[in-house]
Symmetry: C2
Amino acid sequence: MDRTDLVAAYRGYIDCLNAQDWDALGRHVGEAVSYNGETIGLAGYRSMLIGDFEAIPDLRFTIDLLVCDPPHVAARLTFDCTPHGMLFGLPVNGRRVTFTENVFYEFEGGRIVTVRSIIDKAAIAEQILRRPVSRAPGLP
Amino acid sequence: MDRTDLVAAYRGYIDCLNAQDWDALGRHVGEAVSYNGETIGLAGYRSMLIGDFEAIPDLRFTIDLLVCDPPHVAARLTFDCTPHGMLFGLPVNGRRVTFTENVFYEFEGGRIVTVRSIIDKAAIAEQILRRPVSRAPGLP
């Protein structure tokens, strides 16, 4: 896949998530997909997503920045949502939170086979606990 | 800059950090650089790095994955180090921790002008507090 095709494939994947079109997920995600070092497989991936939308009914994946270098895509995703109950161990309880995720994908045969994600949980903690969790040092 | 030159520029930047060659930092980082939405400038960037190495004397930036799509670079960096005292608000106190950073850079004229970084602070918390801080949900 060249860059143009891979960008289109990735945008199709994000559209699939936002449409919660779980029957189509296998067109975008490989059977043996791994997430942060663990092989969760397509079924595990689908379960994770369904759980995400249950916890966050207004969840929407928005691409802030897309860096494409076949076979890899890196994306900075932004979220602006009101999760029910706990999120990432934090008592969000329906409050509005905004946060980002920096995530790398590897594609094989047009499907995602590896995901390496970091979510900015500290930003959510700051919004919920209303105190700076950590300001320094940062690492560039 | 084409992809090959930008990869070389980025690797040169990482080498500069690992050599703690602060006099050369201005060759890699722009005067008005912003870090996670804040314009800290080259002087602020240098101060942040010097602070990082004071807090973490054995700090070393290792590129695990490099995704280059000019003018952007996305990198997954790994760290394996023994920070003194507190790190990111956590009492590390000389224990060994391993963690990752997913970070995006924008280059202009061969220099970094924008950095958008997320460090996996939750992973450090798990290692220090010896309990899972959050396992679910993840977001792909």
